[in-house]
Structure formats: C-alpha cells, structure tokens
C-alpha cells in the first residue's frame, strides 16, 4: 500500500513560518520511509504567491484552499475546510506544525473525522510497518512512544525544531485548487481583533548574554542574585513562564514559545527544568549553561555545561568567580 501524506502549512498574511516548512520536510521524510507520496495543503486568502512558493518543494501536489472566509483564522472554518478535504482525498497521515493555532482546532478536527490524534511529536520511526511517534511527557522529562490504532487518518502535530527545514527537498509540484463550499462553513467565534500583548519593551533577541531564572528561584526576593550574575556577565535577565506567571518579573522578560526566542552567545538557565515550551525559545544559543538541583532535569540535555546544585549557592558563587577572574 502506498501511503498518502499531507502536510498542512500555517501562514500569516501570506508569509509561511519556518515551523511549517519543518512539517513539509517531515512529510517528505515520512513518505520516503513508508514508500508513499508527500503533498502539502495551504489555507488562506490570496494564496497564489504562497502556493507557488510551496510548489517549489518536491511534493506530489499542493492543495490550496483560497477563500476570503479563510483570511482570518477561526477554528470553525479551518477545521471544516480540512475535514471536507481530508474526507475526500483520504490521506493516511496529516502533519501539522505544533503551533497554538494548530492546538486550537486540531482536536476538533480529529473528533469530526474520528481520526487518531498525536499532538507534539518530536520524531517517528517505522516499527513492523507501522509508524511509532515519540512525544515528550511529564514536562519533557520523558519521551512516550505512541501508535495509532484502528482505521482512519492519523493527525500529528510536530514540535518546533523536530525536523529541519534546511533538509527540505526542492522540486516542482502542481498546484491544485480545493473547491469547497466555503459559504456553508460557519466560524464558531467572532474575531474582534488581533493585538499586541502588553509589555514588549525589552528586546532580548539582541542581548549577547542572557541569564534566565526559573521556578527554582522559589521567591521574588531572591531575584537580585540573578541580576548580579547578569550584571557581572554584561547580560540581560530572562525568565521561564512560571516566574512571569507568579509576577516575579515582567512579561517582557519571558523566553519560550509564548515569549521571546533568543540565540545569545551565552545563555545561563538557573532553576529552569527545561520544558519544551522554554527550550524552543533558547536552544539555538551558542553556549548554554544549566544550573539545577535536579540532575534529571531536561535542561541538561540541551546544555553544554551543567552544575547540579542549589542555584541559591551556585549563582552567587559564579558571580564571585567572575569578579575574581576579572581582577586577576
């Protein structure tokens, strides 16, 4: 049996994000391993240029749903469009970039198609002819291997960075228009607007050094020890989500999928366990130092240097060692 694999791209104002190209690459890789064909799907309004861009990949075809009603994302219209397209073409696997938009509509799509849903996969392997997906569980401390059971399509969202857009195979693919009854698809929410979240004052993306603090700090009153280390390194202070949610630092210091993405020369993560939502925002840093009392914390898997210990002791010691080194 030849498998049909679809990758659904996400775009905003015709601009396709990197994570979508990663999903296309994953489709190509899965098609190669399973012996099938990879195709792509694009939804939006005024998609001609974007469609042509996707058409420059090695794909069986690019299906484009181009309609004014798809100009702004709503789960109702996006899920109903894909439901109709998938029900007609019957792909075996449909891959999505694991974005907040995907998570918003994908479970409902799986439900209406009676399809298997594998959220946030980071890799796959073929075992005895079936596809086994790996996905992080327990805050990224462990990886679960899961497999779809029963008939029907398998819908998978792929975590950022799981596949490399650089490995995308170029080629030429025919563009096919998805003719659907868009007027019959009702949005299930009325979009009032898209606005910038408050507090985007600090641009951490340009900082050469970032000292980031996580839940392990335990208390807002201990933040100054982190600031002292940041000052000693000539860097900026960053934080993982729990620190921001607790109100210990303002939101513009947040690094990760719902905050800023940074790639400094040096990234120090103290008291940060390393949930995937944080890792996607900092794993491109040149040198990563992790300080955590839990030797099993996933942050140590991406770090270059690690110290297993209490940050309340280690961080001031590093600050002191830096001062000592600069004086000698």
């Amino acid at each position: 049996m030849s498998a049909k694999i679809w990758s659904v791209l996400q775009q905003r104002d015709g601009e396709i994000q990197k994570i979508s190209w990663e999903a296309v690459r994953a489709g190509q890789a899965l098609a190669a391993d399973l012996g099938g064909s990879a195709e792509a799907v694009l939804l939006g309004s005024g998609m001609q240029e974007a469609g042509n861009e996707v058409g420059q990949c090695s794909l069986g075809s690019v299906h484009v749903a181009d309609d004014e009603s798809l100009a702004i994302y709503t789960p109702g219209r996006f899920a109903r469009t894909l439901e109709a397209a998938i029900a007609t073409a019957q792909p075996d696997y449909v891959l999505f970039p694991h974005t907040y938009q995907t998570v918003d509509f994908l479970p409902g799509l799986a439900q209406s198609l009676d399809a298997a849903l594998v959220p946030e996969a980071v890799s796959f392997e073929i075992v005895d002819g079936s596809v086994v997906w790996q996905r992080p569980v327990l805050g990224g401390k462990m990886l679960a291997s899961v497999r779809a059971k029963g008939p029907g399509p398998v819908l998978v969202s792929l975590q950022s960075g799981a596949f490399s857009a650089d490995e995308l195979e170029k080629g030429s693919a025919p563009i096919e228009t998805l003719s659907l009854d868009f007027a019959a698809m009702a949005p299930d929410r009325e979009i009032l607007g898209i606005e910038e979240a408050v507090g985007g004052e600090v641009d951490l993306s340009q900082a050469p050094v970032i000292v980031s603090v996580g839940r392990g700090i335990g208390d807002a009153e201990k933040i100054p020890i982190m600031q002292e280390l940041a000052d000693a390194l000539g860097g900026e202070l960053g934080a993982s989500r729990p620190v921001i949610d607790s109100g210990w630092l303002p939101r513009d210091r947040q690094i990760g999928s719902s905050g800023q993405t940074v790639t400094p020369k040096l990234y120090v993560a103290a008291g940060i366990s390393g949930a995937i939502q944080h890792l996607v925002g900092m794993k491109g840093s040149q040198v990563i130092v992790a300080i955590n009392k839990d030797a099993g914390a996933p942050i140590f898997n991406v770090a270059h240097y690690g110290i297993v210990g209490d940050l309340h002791e280690v961080v001031p010691a590093v600050t002191a060692a830096l001062k000592e080194a600069s004086e000698s």
Partner: protein
C-alpha cells in the same frame, strides 16, 4: 452562571521518576499528586465568576480513587459539589475518549460555561477541553488569557494567546468551553472553614450507564492511540557536568567559559 470545571490530578514531576513495570508509564507509588497547574487557574476563574454572578461551580475529574483528594481540595476552595468518573471503563484513554466521558457527565447538568486548563503537566495533549466542546457542540477557545462575561447577552469576550507576543480577541456565544492558560489570576488557598465544609459536600460517581455512554467508546478501548512505552531521553549528548562544591564548580565553569568555550 452555572460553571463546570474539569480538573486533572497529575504527579508532582519535581519528584524522582521511575518507569513502571509494564514500561508504558511511570511508577506511581511513592509519588505525590497535585491538581494540574492550569486547571487550578481554571477553578479560580470559575469561583470568581460564580461569586460575581451568584452562580455555582461543579468540579469534574476522571481518574482512579486517588483523584478524590483533588476533588476534596476543589470543594474546600469553594466548588459546590463534585463528579468523579472512576469506573474502570473511563480510565486509560486518550484525549478523545477522555473528553467524551467528561462531556457526557457535563451534559447531564445544566451549565452555561465549562472551564478547564489548557494542558496537563503529565501527558500534555492539550486537547481534552476542545474535545469536550466538540461533543457538546459548543464553541471553545484554547489558551485563554482573559475572560469578560456579558451575562445579559449570553456572550463571553475571550483573549487567546497567540505566538510572537500577539493576542486574539473574540466573542463567543454561551454556553462555551474555555481552556485556561496558567497565569490568568491568583489562585486562592483553602480556608479552614472551607476544608471543614468540603467534608459535607457531595462527590457523585456516575458510571457509563448513568451517563448513557457506551463503555466501548470510553477509556483505553475507545482511544485512537496507544502508548507503547515511555523512556528517559537518551543521555550522552547532554551537558558536561561540572563537579565539586558550589565554589569549586563555579570557578571551573568560569575557566571553561574563558578557555574552552572562549566566550568570556
């Protein structure tokens, strides 16, 4: 407002984890369990709305006997009563079969709003609330950062977190399902009085038959995916661990950053 809140009890993942005997999950013995973080924020939001609107909060949870403790805690915080889906037919499911069971239990009541967390800290599908919405045929929003109720017009204005520091603002018709992002509010602590009162509050335990649900559509049998194994990520490519007491390790680190990584 009558509000249903779905909570999940999850293991405290700060603890040292061991793979279970059958290799498909962690050994739960000796672990402590807590209410899933974002579910705690959902419960707090529901309690605040109920207080403002002279409403009522009913808390739902699916899981084994230990889950009763999480429900007791929610009752101590102010929920009026609880529903515990503990029948073995409910257990071991994916988000599709779990959401189906919870929606069945919620449908048996008369609710204006369902609140739940956006994602569990253990399995992390981030899907169950959306599935509940689909089963009920209600609109939903995932990753909610703001809730403004318009009781008179039976609408709710919702702020959804998007990537890259943007928010989507939308209006939904009630009844609706909102999946709350952590950080929305300041969850309260239980008072002594609340803890005492909770002991007298009802925890009902309906089975699939009571909810009119076919057992084969639920739990592990009704799931569309199966977990084959869990494992720790491969070690080896990780960090170079610097040994010694805090001072020694700090000095070694600074030296390595200067001479090995050459970035200082």
């Amino acid at each position: 407002m009558r509000i249903a809140v779905c909570i999940k009890q999850v293991p405290d993942i700060e603890a040292r984890l061991r793979v279970s005997g059958d290799g498909t999950w962690i050994d739960e013995e000796d672990l402590s369990f807590v209410i899933n973080e974002s579910d705690g924020y959902a419960l707090e939001e529901a309690l605040q709305i109920a207080e403002r609107t002279s409403g009522e909060v009913v808390v739902f949870s699916l899981g084994p006997e230990r889950v009763r403790e999480a429900l007791r805690k929610a009752l101590a915080l102010g929920a009026a009563r609880a529903v515990h889906l503990k029948d073995p037919a409910f257990l071991g499911g994916d988000s599709l079969s779990t959401g189906r069971a919870l929606a069945g239990a919620i449908a048996a009541g008369d609710f204006d709003l369902v609140l739940t967390g956006s994602q569990s800290d253990d399995v992390g599908f981030g899907s169950t609330g959306t599935v509940i919405a689909g089963e009920l045929g209600w609109p939903h929003v995932w990753l909610v950062m703001g809730v403004e109720l318009d009781e008179a017009n039976k609408k709710v204005k919702v702020t959804r977190e998007m990537e890259a520091g943007m928010n989507e603002i939308s209006n939904l018709d009630l009844p609706a399902v909102l999946e709350i992002q952590a950080g929305l509010n300041k969850p309260r602590y239980a008072s002594l009085r609340g803890i005492m009162q909770a002991k007298k509050k009802e925890i009902s335990e309906p089975g699939p038959g009571d909810l009119g649900l076919a057992p084969e559509s639920l739990g592990e049998t009704g799931a569309k995916i199966e977990v084959l194994s869990v494992a720790f990520p491969e070690a080896g490519k990780g960090a170079q661990i610097i040994e010694g007491d805090a001072e020694t390790a700090a000095r070694t680190l600074v030296e390595k950053l200067q001479k090995e990584a050459r970035i200082l």
